[in-house]
């Protein structure tokens, strides 16, 4: 008899349990809802890490399970952030502008309000008109749709072109990297309509919730991120189990053979590529309101490569590996670069970790690739196998 989904994937339950305990723990210890041991800014950091974990499991699915080393998933993440950022920025500026114009003797016309908002937002790049891509920015619903649609469509078109031409392996990686670079360079221009290298800012202020303190808002985003991660994990585990999952793993292991068996490989790859891009977009939409600012520097190709690094360190081909790797490396990274790590005095030279962290990361990453291809996740493999 066919075993149930949960019975087949005991790690899903374990993961959900761990995530639940973690969320509960943070809730109890936070400033807004508990004792206040964890500061608001740290809650934000943890919420951001959860979003990064979400994009990392998407990366793991596309790379670890399907064998496509995409160096463009952080671009989809950024697009999601931009899409939600546009609404946040528009709505907040609108509130400010209406308040300013209220003091006039004559009530403002819609055109005047619109012009004032445009001047406020685009004054920094020397423009006072709304570009075409801001057409939906007044509506949260439409922008939320864009969070899903833009990365999805971009991935669909790009993937269709690339997979159809049978671009595989490192060529595909280079091509996705080129796509990411093109997007970043485009956004760096002042006339891109997204404020050039200034990016979108003030995203931590949620319109309509001005009276709510940041500590509460950050908890809200933390819960939302945890929920999104849980849903994403379950969804991907579901997609990857059963026959479909087997085909996807088979594509990774030997693409021509799967093709000869009669499967339409391109459709499977396109499906996975697009689905993960959409999830990356959603993760970005949750991440950037917590970060408060988004600019093109966030989505340059190197960010996507770091994403691959996290997954590799966590151990690819296991969803929990991606989560562990991302949480471990990004928290460690903020500990080292934030000056939390004590300097090491060698007598003739003092190692400041803010300067040497990247050297350590780079070399240890090489070591992981060479000596522990399974990554950290491998430690948990035995555990997962025993329980099943």
């Amino acid at each position: 008899m066919q075993k149930s989904f949960i019975a087949q994937n005991p790690s899903v339950l374990w993961f959900l349990a761990c995530l639940g305990v973690f969320t509960l723990g943070v809730t109890i210890l936070s400033e807004a809802t508990g004792t206040g041991v964890i500061s608001t800014s740290f809650v934000k950091t943890l919420g951001k890490v959860l979003c990064l974990c979400l994009v990392a499991i998407a990366m793991d699915v596309v790379w670890g399970y399907c064998g496509i080393l995409s160096l463009g998933h952080f671009a989809f993440f950024g697009i999601g952030g931009y899409a939600v950022g546009m609404w946040l920025m528009y709505a907040r500026t609108e509130a400010i502008v209406i308040e300013n114009l209220a003091s006039r003797t004559i009530p403002p016309t819609p055109v005047e309000v619109n012009e004032a908002i445009a001047t406020q937002i685009f004054g920094v790049v020397g423009s006072s008109d709304f570009p075409l891509i801001w057409a939906f920015s007044h509506s949260l619903t439409l922008q939320m749709l864009l969070v899903v649609l833009v990365p999805g469509l971009l991935a669909l078109v790009f993937g269709w072109l690339a997979f159809r031409a049978r671009v595989t392996g490192v060529y595909l990686s280079i091509l996705t990297q080129a796509m990411t670079l093109a997007l970043a360079l485009y956004l760096f221009q002042n006339d891109s309509g997204l404020r050039g290298n200034n990016g979108l800012s003030g995203l931590q202020n949620i319109p309509g919730f001005e009276a709510v303190p940041q500590s509460v808002i950050s908890m809200g985003f933390f819960w939302a991120s945890a929920l999104a991660l849980a849903l994403g994990y379950v969804m991907f585990a579901r997609v990857l189990s059963g026959k479909m999952g087997s085909v996807i793993r088979a594509i990774r292991d030997d693409e021509p053979r799967v093709r000869f068996l009669g499967y339409h490989v391109e459709s499977y790859k396109l499906f996975i590529f697009t689905l993960t891009a959409v999830v990356a977009g959603i993760a970005g939409a949750l991440y950037y309101p917590q970060a408060g600012i988004i600019n093109p520097a966030e989505i340059v190709p190197i960010a996507s490569i770091y994403l691959a690094v996290w997954v590799a360190i966590g151990g690819r081909g296991r969803l929990y590996g991606a989560v562990i790797g991302t949480a471990f490396v990004s928290l460690l990274s903020s500990w080292f670069t934030g000056g939390g790590a004590p300097a090491v005095d060698l007598g003739f030279y003092t190692i400041q970790w803010t300067e040497w962290w990247l050297v350590l990361l780079g070399t240890s990453f090489v070591a992981v690739t060479l000596f522990f291809p399974g990554g950290i996740g491998r430690v948990f493999d035995k555990f997962a196998r025993k329980s099943s």
Partner: protein
């Protein structure tokens, strides 16, 4: 114009003037002006001095300009002076002989202000034009060319015949041509001068033409009696309706248009009892209601009536708009127009040539940056993300060498092989320690080399700091090869082009003519068969990787010469390098060349269409490459048969 005429007249009676007076008496006739010159009054005096033809005049003008002229208070006679121990020693102006020494209090220094000194300088130019010292002549010509002025035609023309320096003579003749074209009195002479500009691509020559063709936009009810350039219709791309009406408003007293903002201000000023123009204030958040209210106010005579589009149409029906040349002579403007057209064609042809040179130079940079990668990636199938850092390593090697060897030429000669050696060693070390273990896992090679790239980049930052380090090129590489005023290319870029050619030749030689090349090709095609023929594949792979990395080091020195050396210098080129290799076709030096050329030409082409935006050029280039891969997934020059692998 009058000044030229008087000058010409004066030239005619030169011999008479010579005998007529000496300098001092001439100065005395204008005593007041000379002693206290003002910008307005100094002109006639200068003319008189110049026209006198006295040999001492240039010297006098210089002294006057240099505030070295003194006037004796009691009788107003002018002297030069030299400072002695007991006061001022007077020097006679006409003869230059020293006379008495007097108390400084009896003398007064003549201090012309800036404007006057400028006027004196302008008068001096004609003497300097035939000065025996070539530097002074050159300076005088430059000062004329900076500000073309009608008064300079005659002196310039006069000095051409006596000019011995060929280059300067040519320059003088050109300038005379410009001046005649712009300010000449004779129509035929001007047309001839303008037509002579036909082959002149210089900015100044083009400026002269556009100054002759300077036009003014006027509105008139009937066609104006002037040198008409063209009739402009309002609402066309040359003249918007708003701009056309603005001319009528400013020049012909039409009522100005009322903007939406004016309406708002007017309504705000006329709010009475919660209403403005009969409309309740709360309803005024609508533009149509606002206009309605404003019209009510206008009907009451409180504000100016709105100018409607129909009013504009009516005005444009009665008034025409004309571009009229400031120059009255139709023959001159027609000739200038004709010449301008031919020059524009020539200029755009030359710009295309210039662009071609730029594209070639960019292509050679990409080629240099990518050819090392083409070997490691193409021949060995290994993605080396640290390739950019090898470029950086080479550039820093060049910088460090310059710290020890201060002769830039020598340091370059040392740096090039040293950079090769350093990056060769780094490449071999990396191959031995890391890549060797990952040959059958290409994606992991990519990530492992990325780790190395991150570590190396940060290491460079820790050692050399984040600020840019200069890699100075030797003096003989400064400057540019100027073909004409439009086409030019800097020597550094030529040197890089030569270097790229050199490497193309060298690589082709190594790969096709040497034992190493033979073995490399054998290992690439079939490692196991090569091994059974007695070739050591491990050693060959190591050597190949070292060679590719070493070339990256040399590329680093070359790139460092024109870009500042920073730890990011390599990552700026890495994606483009990958693109070059992929587009060109993997595993082929010719492919890399083709890829580099295509990317270079394409990028420059896009920049030409939109010159302000190099970022956009790169974006479009990458999009183009993504599409290109669709049609030729294996690149421009694809390997066929067994060598293609897969």
């Amino acid at each position: 114009m009058i000044r030229i005429l008087t000058f010409a007249l004066a030239l005619l009676c030169l011999p008479v003037a010579l005998f007529a007076q000496d300098l001092q008496s001439l100065l005395q006739t204008h005593q007041k002006v000379v002693a206290k010159p003002s910008r307005k009054s100094v002109g006639p005096v200068l003319d008189a001095l110049v026209n006198s033809g006295l040999p001492q005049v240039p010297g006098f003008l210089e002294q006057w300009q240099g505030k070295a002229l003194y006037v004796r208070k009691e009788d107003g006679v002018f002297f030069y002076t030299s400072k002695g121990s007991e006061g001022l020693t007077l020097i006679d102006i006409s003869s230059g002989e020293t006379s008495a020494t007097v108390d400084a209090k009896t003398m007064k220094q003549v201090k012309p202000n800036g404007g006057v000194r400028k006027a004196i300088g302008a008068a001096l130019v004609q003497f300097q034009l035939s000065d025996p010292n070539i530097e002074r002549r050159r300076k005088a010509v430059e000062s004329i060319s900076q500000k073309l002025d009608a008064s300079q035609i005659a002196p310039l023309k006069a000095s051409v015949a006596g000019e011995k320096d060929a280059a300067l003579k040519l320059r003088k003749e050109r300038l005379t041509g410009y001046l005649t074209a712009r300010f000449g009195t004779d129509s035929a002479a001007r047309v001839a001068a303008i037509e002579a500009l036909n082959n002149d691509l210089s900015v100044q020559g083009r400026a002269v033409l556009s100054q002759i063709l300077e036009a003014e936009l006027v509105a008139a009810e009937t066609v104006p009696d002037a040198n008409l350039a063209e009739v402009v219709t309002p609402g066309s791309s040359a003249l918007s309706r708003e701009a056309a009406y603005e001319i009528l408003v400013t020049k012909h007293g039409f009522p100005p248009r009322v903007s939406d903002n004016d309406i708002r201000l007017a309504l705000e000023a006329n709010v009475e009892g919660g209403k403005a123009g009969g409309v309740p204030v709360v309803q005024l958040d609508d533009l149509q209601k606002r206009e309605l209210a404003y019209d009510t106010l206008a009907a009451r005579g409180l504000v100016q009536t709105r100018v409607s589009d129909a009013d504009l149409d009516r005005a444009f029906g009665e008034w025409g708009f004309y571009q009229t040349y400031l120059e009255d002579d139709t023959a001159v403007t027609a000739a200038a127009r004709e010449v301008q057209k031919t020059i524009q064609t020539k200029v755009s042809l030359n710009q295309a040539a210039d662009l071609g040179l730029d594209a070639i130079s960019l292509a050679s940079i990409y080629f240099l940056a990518a050819v090392g990668l083409a070997i490691t990636f193409g021949v060995m199938g290994v993605i080396n993300m640290a390739h950019g850092e090898f470029i950086m390593l080479g550039a820093y090697t060049g910088y460090v060498v310059q710290q020890f060897i201060t002769n830039y030429t020598l340091s370059l000669v040392v740096a090039l092989p040293l950079a090769f050696a350093v990056t060769f060693a780094a490449g071999v070390a990396m191959e031995r320690l890391v890549i060797r273990w990952l040959y059958n896992r290409p994606l992991e090679t990519l990530l492992a080399t990325f780790g190395i790239s991150v570590a190396l980049q940060q290491l460079a930052k820790n050692i050399f700091g984040t600020q840019a380090r200069p890699l100075t090129s030797p003096g003989w590489l400064d400057g540019a090869w100027i073909i004409n005023d439009v086409v030019q290319i800097s020597y550094i870029r030529i040197a890089i082009f030569v270097l790229a050619l050199l490497f193309l030749g060298l690589l082709l030689f190594i790969l096709n003519k040497t034992r190493l090349g033979l073995e490399v090709r054998a290992v690439t095609q079939n490692p196991r068969m090569a091994a059974s023929m007695g070739i050591n594949p491990d050693k060959i792979k190591m050597m190949t990787f070292g060679l590719g990395s070493g070339i990256a080091g040399i590329a680093g020195v070359a790139i460092g010469l024109f870009a500042k050396v920073t730890s990011e210098i390599g990552s700026d080129y890495i994606v483009q390098s990958f693109m070059t290799v992929v587009v060109g076709g993997v595993g082929n030096v010719w492919g890399t060349l083709a890829g580099a050329t295509m990317i270079g030409v394409f990028q420059k082409g896009v920049e030409w269409m939109n010159p302000s935006n190099t970022l956009a050029a790169q974006t479009y280039m990458i999009l183009f490459i993504i599409l290109f891969i669709q049609f030729r997934p294996k690149g421009i020059i694809a390997l066929k048969g067994r060598a293609a692998g897969d």
